[in-house]
Amino acid sequence: MTVLRPAGEFDTSYAEDMATIRRKWQWVLLFASIIALYMLPLYASQSMVALVNRICITIIAVQGLNLLTGYTGQISLGQAAFMTTGGYISALLVNELGWPFYFSMPAAALGAGVIGLIFGLPSLRVKGFYLVMSTLAAQFIIPWFTRNAFKDLLNGAQGLNVAVPVIFGLEINTPQRYLMLTLTALIITTIIAYNVSRSRLGRAFITVRDNDLAAEVLGVNLFRVKLQAFFLAAMFAGLAGALAAHQLRHINSETFNLTDSIILMGMLVIGGLGSNLGPFFGAIVVEMLIEIATILGPVFSDILPSTAYGAVQALRPLFFGTALMLFLIFEPRGLAYRWNLMKAAWRLRPFSH
C-alpha cells in the first residue's frame, strides 16, 4: 500500500526522504516510551516485569525469523533449535571460561549464526516443503546433540546451570534488573533488523522472496543472500536463547522445543510477515493469549475434572492454534497490515477512501 502522510508534510532533502522517524514529536514520543519502559520496575509488579522480559526475548527471536521468513521467504521450523545453540554457547563460555556475559552473548549469537549457516546450506537446492523439512531436521538434531555428545561438558539430558550475569560487581538476578538487559538487547536488534530490511541486503531478500529465479537473473547471488538470511536469523535466535538461558539460569535440550518453533512462526504470521512492526504485535498478542490460557486453566480444571493438571497445557496450544488459524483465514497479512490500514483511515478522515 502507498505511504499516506499527513497533508502539508513534504521532504526537502534526501536525508529527510530516507528518514524513518520524520517529526520531532515522534522522536520525543519514542524516547519517552523507551524511558517509560526502562522505568517499568518502578510502577509495575514483578510478574509484570517478568512478562515484559519474556516478551522482549521472544520479539528478538521473531525478528530474526522475520528476516528469514518474512523478508527472504525461506520457511524455517528450526528457530528454537538455534535458541538452544545460543543458550548453550553462552552458558559454556560463562561457566567454563569465565567470560563476562557482555562478551558471551554476542559470541553466542555468532556461534548460533554459524550453526544456522550449516542448516541453511540445503536452501540452495531445495525450497518449500523440502526446506521446512531440513530446518525441522535442525530442530531434532541440535537438541539430540546437546543430550548425547560431549557428556562431561554438556551434562547430557540434565543440561547446564547458567551463572547469574554480573556487570561491575552488580548481580543481575531479579526480573527488574534483567529488564535493563533485555530492553537494551531489544533496542539493538530492532535497529539492526530495521536497517537490514531497508538496505541493499534487505531489498535483495525481498526479491528472493517474491521471485527467486527473477532475482537470480537480476544479479542477486541467491546462495549468498539466502545464507546471509539464515545467518542473521540464527544470530537473533542465538542472542534470544542466551538471554533466556541467563534469565532461567538453566538450559537443557527441552528448554526450547519444536512447539516453540511453531509458536515463533505463528507469532510472525499473527503480527505480520515482512513488516518490522510484525514481531512486536505478534509476540505481544500471543504472549498475552498464553497468559490468558494460564489464568483460565484452573477454571477449566473445575469444569472438566478429567484434565485436573493438564488444563493449562491444553489451553495454550488450543488458544494459540485457534488464533493462528483465524488469522490465516481472515487476516493473513497480520496485525501490522491492519495497523497501517487504521493509520491510513485516520489520516484520510473524514473521507474513508
Partner: protein, 306 residues
Amino acid sequence: MNWQLLPQFATTGLLAGGPIALMALGLVLIFKSSYIFNFAQGQLLLIGALITWWFSVELGLPLWVSIAIALILSALLGLVIERLALRPMTGQPLLSIILMTLGLSQVLQGSALLFFGGNQRNFPQIFPAGDPYKIITPFVYEGNPIVLILKQNLVWSFIVAILGVIVIGAFFKFTKAGLAMRATSEDHELAQSIGLRIHRIFGISWMLAAVVATIGGVLLATSSGLDMSLSIVVLAAFPAVLLGGLESIPGTIIGGLLIGLSVGLVSASTNQFIRNSGEIMPYVVLLLVLMIRPEGLFGQKRIERI
C-alpha cells in the same frame, strides 16, 4: 558393530518400518490431491487412537466395534477439517498452508489434551503380547545359529500396515474415484474443466488420510501404549515421505522400510553414541536425501520457469 545381533535389529527395524509406511501414506494421500503437506497427521493419529480407547475401555464396547466407530468418526473429522480449515486456503501461498496445518496440529493436540487428559493409558491388546515368533536362520555366527525373535504385535502390525498401503494403492489404481483423484493431482483446473468436483475429491482424500491415521494410531498404541507423545511418532514418517518421493504411493513403502531399517541398523552398533542416534536417524537420512536427490527415489522432478 554387533554382528550377532545385526540380523535381529535389521529385521525389527524393517518391521517397524511398516507403520511408518502407513503414516507416510496418509501424508502422501493429501499431498497428491491438494498439494498440502499435513503437519497435523500426528494429531489425527493420536485422536483416532484416543477415540478407539474411549469406546473400548471407558464404554466397554468390543474392540472391533470401537475401531469401526473410530474410523467413521475420524473420517468425519477429516471432512470437517478440510471444509473449515483448508478450503478457505485454496490458492494461498505455501507458507500460509503450512502454517494452517501447524495451527491445526496445535488445536487438535490441545483439544485431545483437554477432553482426554494427558495420562499414560493401557491400550487393549489386539495381537497376543507374549509368545514371540522364533525363526532360526541358516546363518551361523561363531558356532551358534542366529535366531530371530519377533514380537507378535510387531509382525502383525507390519502385515496390517503393508496391507493397508496396498489396498489404498489399489484403490488409487483401479477404481473410478481413484482415477478422479489422480486426475486432480495432475492439474486442478484441468480436472475441474472435465467436470470433476475437486473440492469433493479433497474432502475424500482428507477422509482417507484420517482413516489411515486412525489405523496407524491403533497399531502403534497397541504395541507401545497410548499417551500424548503418540503424535510425535509421525515425525519419523516425514523423512520416509521425502525419501520415497512426495507423490508416490509405492514410494511410501520403500521409504518407510528404509527409514525403519536405518534405525534398526544404528541400534545394532556397539558404540553408545551411534546407538543413541536411532531417534534422529530418520532426519539424518532426510538431510542426505535433500542434499543428494531432493525429489526422492520415486518423486517427480519439476522444472522451474519464470
